[in-house]
Each structure stands twice: as C-alpha cells, then as structure tokens.
Subunit: 310 residues, 3 copies
C-alpha cells in the first residue's frame, strides 16, 4: 500500500481506505492551503502540468497546491498555443514530459488519455480530466466538501440534480459515494438521466438509488443537493432549453423546506443554475467546495510525491 | 493607516502620504529589483495574476517583483486561452481566485472591474488596468521616475504631449501630480484634449494648468516631457493621422533648447512617437521608467502583503 | 575566458574548449536533472523566457533547468497571446525584458533575432532558435548525447539522414561535429541536400564528408544515425512526398546490419520517420537525447549566470 509513486487516472484506482487517507490529509492541510502555515515538503521537486485543453481553475489550484508545498511547476496552459502536438503521438509527448518533472498532471480532451499516459510514463500521472472519462481529483474534493459539512460520508442523502447523462463529474461522484453506502436521489430532465452502465455499477454496490421529479421533494429529503450545468447544446431548440433550464434553477424559494444543515454544491462555473441570492444562505457550499480543491490537491501531491504530509 | 491588506483600485485609494511611502520604499528596493540583493520576505505567499486581457510588460514586471521577494505566482496570462469566463460572472471568478493566493492582480477590459473585484474578494485586489478606467501602478512608477530624476515631485513642470483624451495613463498621472502642486502643460491634437472632468478635477486642487500648441515652446519649458501614443483608429483617414502623428513626433531636433536635466518619458511600447536617436541623449528616461516598474511593484507587494519591507 | 555573462547566439560563439566545458558540466548535473540531487545555486535569480513563437519542449526544459537550480522564471509562452509586439521594435522589447531578469532566453521566427537581442541587452541572451538561423542549445544536447554514448566525440561516424537542406538542427550539428574531426555521411532526398555554404564550411575544417544513397549502407557504417523530419510542404504533391518519406523511414528492419553500439537520434517530435518498434531496440537514443536537454541547459545556466556549478 501507500500512495507514493502511484497514478491517479480514475477514482477506482484508489481503495476506500486510500480515499479516506487523502481526505484526512486534506483536512490537516487546510491551514497550509490558506497560507497560514507553510511547508517546503516538495522543495526541489517539479510538477509538469500538461493541459491540452484549458481548465483554468483546475490548473491554478494544482499550481497553488504545488507551490504552497515548496515545489515548482512547468506548465502547458493550452495546447492550441503549442506546436507540440503537431502530429506527435500522446505517448511520445508524455515520455518527453516525464523527463521534466517528478509527476505529470494531465488534462486532455480524449477519454482514456490519462490511462495511456500512465502506461508510458515512468513518473506518476494524475488525471485532471480526460474528455468524457474521469476527473478523479474533482471527485475527491466533492467528497471532502461533504465530509467537512457532515463529519462523515456514511448515511448521507445526496441528490444529484441536472444533466446526469453527460456530466462526468456526477458519474465519478455517484460511484464513489456508493462505496460509502450513501443514499442517492436522481433528478434530471427527460433524456438526460444517468447512463445505464453507471446506474448498474452503483446498484451492484447495494447503494439505495431512487428517482425524483419534483424539485421541492428533492430538496426536502436531501442532505446534499449537487447541482450541475444543463448545457444548451443538448437541446433541439432554444425554447425547449430555456424551459428545462428554468425548471431546474435553484433560487431562495427552492430552498424553502430544506433541512437546516443541507448544503448546495456545484462544480462551478455556474451559469444560471443557482441564483446569486443563494450565496448568502447557510446552504451555499460551492465556494467552500472550490477552496477545498487546494488542500485536496496538496494532500494528493504530498502523498504521491513525498509519501508523507508536511 | 498602514497599507497591509489594502486594495489598490485607483490612485485615489491612497493618500499622498501613502503614495510617498510607496515611492520611498521603491527607492530602497532598487538593489533587490536589480538582483544585487535578495529577499525571502514573501516566502510562502502566492500572488494570483488574472490578466483577462494580455499585457505582457505589466504581467512580467509583477511576476518578477513577486519572485524577487521570494513569493510565488499563479497566472492567467490571457483569458481567450481559458474556458473560465464562459458565462461565469466576474464576481464568481474573483471569489474562486481569492482562494488560490494572498492577493489578486487584475487586468480587465471593463472599467470598474477592479472595484467590483475588491468588493467581492476577501484578499487585496491590485488593479493592473481596467479598460478606460485606472492603472494606478503605472501612475506610481511614473511618479517614481520623476522623483528619482529631480529628487522631488514638488515644483516640477510636466508637459503632457499627445493623445490626452483616451490615454488613461495621463489622466491618472495628471490627477496624482496635481496633489503635489506640479505645473502642468498640455499639448494635444484637435479633438484629443484632456476630458473636461479630468481637467476640472485638477483645477480644483489649485494646480497650475495651461495649454500649448508649439512643440518647441512645450519642450523648452518642461522638466518632464511625457509623450503618449496617438492611435490611428482615432482618425477619419490615414492621411490625417500621418500628418498629426508626424507633428507630434519627438526626435533629436525637437529637443534643441530643452533644459539640460529635462527627461522624456513614455509608458511604452512606443511606435513612432519618439525617434530611436533620442535613446542616446541624456534626456531619454523611458527605459529607466520601464525598469522602475519592478521596484515600485515590489514596494506595493511588500507593503500590502507583509506590511513591511525586506 | 569563462562563460559567466556570455551570450550564446550561435554554436560558433563558443570555442571547442568552452563546448567541452559545457558537456563536462552537463554530465555532472545529470543527478540534479533527475531530481536526485537539488541545488540553490541560482536562488534569487530570474530567467526571462521570451518565446515569440511557441516551442513547448525547449521552453519546458529551460524552465525545469532553471527551477532545479533554485532560480525563477518569467515567461512569454507565445507572442500571439500578447499585445507586446504591436508595432514595437525587437530592440525596445529586449531592452524592456532585460530589466526583468538576469538573462533572456529568446525564441523568434526571424533569423538574426538573437544576435540583435544580444547587442541591445545588458544581460546575457541565449538563443533558443531563431527561424532558419541557429539553435545552439539543441546542438549542445545533440553533442552531449553522442558523447554519453561513446565517451568521446572524436572519430565518431555520424550519418545525417533526411531533409538536410531546411533543417537548421543538422546544419549547426554538422558544423560543430566538424570541429571534432567527426566523419560525416549525408543521405537526403533529391533537392533536400546540405546547402553548399554549410558543406564548404565543413570541408574547410578538413572533416571527412561523403554522400550515400543506400539506407542499408548508411546504417551499416554509422555510429550515429541522426534522423530528421521530411516536411510535406517541401514537395509538389502528396504522392511524391509519401514516396520519399516512405523510403527514408527507419524501422526495425532498417537496423539489420547496424553496429551493436549504433544509436539512432532525432530532435523530436517525430511524425513517421522512426517506427515505434525502434523504441524497444538498444539503438533508440532519442528519448535520452530529449532528457539530456535538461542537464545541458542546467550547465549553460549555471556557467552563464553563476560562473560555476552547484
């Protein structure tokens, strides 16, 4: 066991004990992520950030995490600004990058890119999103947010709301939550439900899973209301999109009847799914969730690169 | 008082004493800016540079300033290369960025963006140019250049030459100089004069302000000749532009009759406003001005982030 | 003598003794490049990377090299994303950049850009490729690869294969090898031979140089087979290109009859010039060559910026 030198291409690369180890580490690293404590644990180490599609918040939170641990970064922020991939295979690119640092954080538009990269690289590869595939560090920070709010992941009732078909974030999260015996409620527009194979994977674990079509009931039962974007390009016309998007929009009135400790989460950026008036309510957890990206990624980098915490 | 934790969205956010404090600090930091001395004052701190429009020299001088103080940077160099702003509000973006570092340096195309950012951010926001609005750190380095040349800002005669209507640099500078009782002479092409509200703001301070239309007289009287770009797009046709631009061009012959200690300043990049032959004259101060960007920004970062100097 | 403070715009800026000094230093720095040892030799120093055309592998290897020595970087990754060069002369840009760090690494599309930059900059300029001109650090890492494989550069038989007309990499390398009395064999498609002036420069040194048109003979005689890209745009039509490219492609069968210690090199990225099956043979040296970019650039930065090694 031990996470030192390990790849993270899918949340399923880690056992539940290993996920727990990362979450416990992340909690301990919060003062470091806030800049209240500092560390040179990763001094002398270089992290290669290879973002073949741009993702500013994921990139910046990794760069902050690495640097708050005393490490350094070399970064490809956007492959369109490079000539590197002109006809070069991903294997060759990764082999080259693995010479420039102690680990590679990879963002790529193709599903499976991270697993391929992990196979050819001598150095650990961390998947920062590969197309319709995985985004395991997002899942870890989602779990960290729930655990911080409730002190546990066991017995929590999580409602996933919005586009559950195309959102890779909710697929990974649902699978991970199932490991903890979480109760899941799904509410999605017609045609945007959870894919059958994800659903079956969850049901196999024995997790309780039900569907809901009334937003007030969905809100009332939830400990966690996880909202995702509904993308315009999934709809035949603007009118249909507006209608659906409108009926999935969370505002202050949607939260009437919610449990006092219920939290609203969102992977951000939001466009109109959550009204700004929700920000001032005690339910809003999405900015905290964004912050937790830093300690969670610090925890991962510490454990993978140094095998220990500051 | 004290600048620790303060925002800088407009030069008017700082009192004259505070401006003096920054200028004095900048002088002390020159050996650090030149790399002759080094400091770890900001070790463990992260600066977020959010350049939603590119500005290479402003960005690089901030990055150099932060790193020469031992700090680290995370950078958005160009928003067109990010997916971040797809429909996300500036408020949400800033709240997210405020989790990644101890302060935010913001460059944005919209006037007022910095003030909005300062309102939503828990961390200090430094305006690095917001559209037609403010660019206060440019003003500070302009003041530092004049003060270094003359030992004071009092009683200096500054001539502003060129487009005084659209150049936000000269608006801020003129307002700041007025605080020091500077004598101002304005010379601009027809239709490109100083806007009435800027002019009135200056006259209210009691500062002396006059207009000039003969370049030799403007040069002869000046201690500082501050030259700005005249932009082609302000003119109806190319011929008119060429004529005006030609008559505002400074070359060696324009400087005949200048005071021996007169300095020529320019925010750079120049296109044709100052002939290269001027570079070799003792009057050329624009490269020194570009260098002073580093100690001035080091002074600001030291005072805002640490509340003290190295 | 001594390399401290020196420019490197062309491989001919360095004497053979100086090249040897860099190569010896690079060998010593391999454990530092691998992250097994760390150094703070360049702490407090800033390297300006000005890439006016993108070149990801050159940029990242310089950034890694600088940071593994404790130094910092400020980077222009791609000039298209900056407004800096809007009408500004290269001289002005370089003068400005020379204020932001202890040395400038310049990549530019125009031949001669590095030499011009070195003339106007107070700080050392390292050429990271200027159009059809020079790329001296590539030449140094090519030499380092050959020397590591054979323990010497003397008496080595190097075969240059592919487009020898437009590949600036092979021009510089051929000239440098000629200094060491290397035996050179050239094999190129019709019309893509070594330019006459490069050829004459090599012959003047007394180096042995011959042409070959049979790939099996070229392989059989070589200690080093240096393969370069054959670019589609050099050919009148696709068919002609495919035919030529196909006959210059190296695969496992091409290597039958090679000397046991023969190495295959390539500046990378490759597109189809070397089949992936070659990677697993003991002849493949191109990934090692890519890695050696880091210690070679560390050696240069140490000697130019500090005048000594860690």
């Amino acid at each position: 066991m031990g996470l030192k030198g390990r790849d993270l291409t899918s949340i399923r690369d880690f056992s539940r004990d290993e996920i727990d180890e990362v979450l416990t580490a992340a909690r301990r690293l919060i003062p470091y992520a806030e800049g209240k404590k500092s560390s040179d644990l990763l001094e002398g180490k270089v992290l290669v950030l290879a973002f073949f599609e741009p993702s500013t918040r994921t990139r910046l939170s990794f760069e902050t995490a690495m640097q708050r641990l005393g490490g350094r970064c070399v970064t490809i922020a956007d492959a369109s600004a490079t000539s590197m991939r002109k006809g070069e295979t991903l294997s060759d690119t990764i082999r080259m990058l693995s010479h420039y640092g102690e680990a590679i954080v990879l963002r790529h538009s193709n599903e499976g890119a991270a697993r391929l990269a992990a196979m050819v690289s001598d150095r650990p590869v961390i998947n920062a999103g590969d197309g319709a595939g995985q985004h395991p560090t997002q899942t870890l920070l989602d779990l960290a947010t729930i655990q911080e709010a409730f002190g546990t992941l066991r017995g929590i009732h999580v409602t996933l709301l919005g586009d559950l078909r195309y959102g890779r974030t909710v697929h990974s999260l649902a699978r991970a939550l199932a490991m903890y015996g979480t109760e899941l409620t799904l509410m999605s527009p017609p045609g945007l439900g959870l894919p059958a194979e994800v659903r079956e994977g969850i049901e196999e674990t024995g997790a309780r899973l039900k569907e809901e079509d009334q937003i007030h009931r969905a809100v009332r039962d939830a400990d966690v209301l996880y909202v995702t974007r509904i993308q315009k390009e999934r709809f035949a016309d603007e009118t249909e999109y507006q209608q659906v998007a409108g009926s999935y929009r969370i505002d202050a009135s949607s939260l009437v009847g919610a449990k006092p400790k219920m939290i609203v989460m969102h992977p951000l950026p939001r466009t109109g799914e959550i009204a700004p008036e929700v920000d001032a309510t005690p339910h809003a957890a999405y900015f905290r969730q964004a912050f937790l990206a830093v300690p969670v990624r610090m925890a991962l980098l510490s454990l993978i690169l140094a095998g220990r915490l500051p």
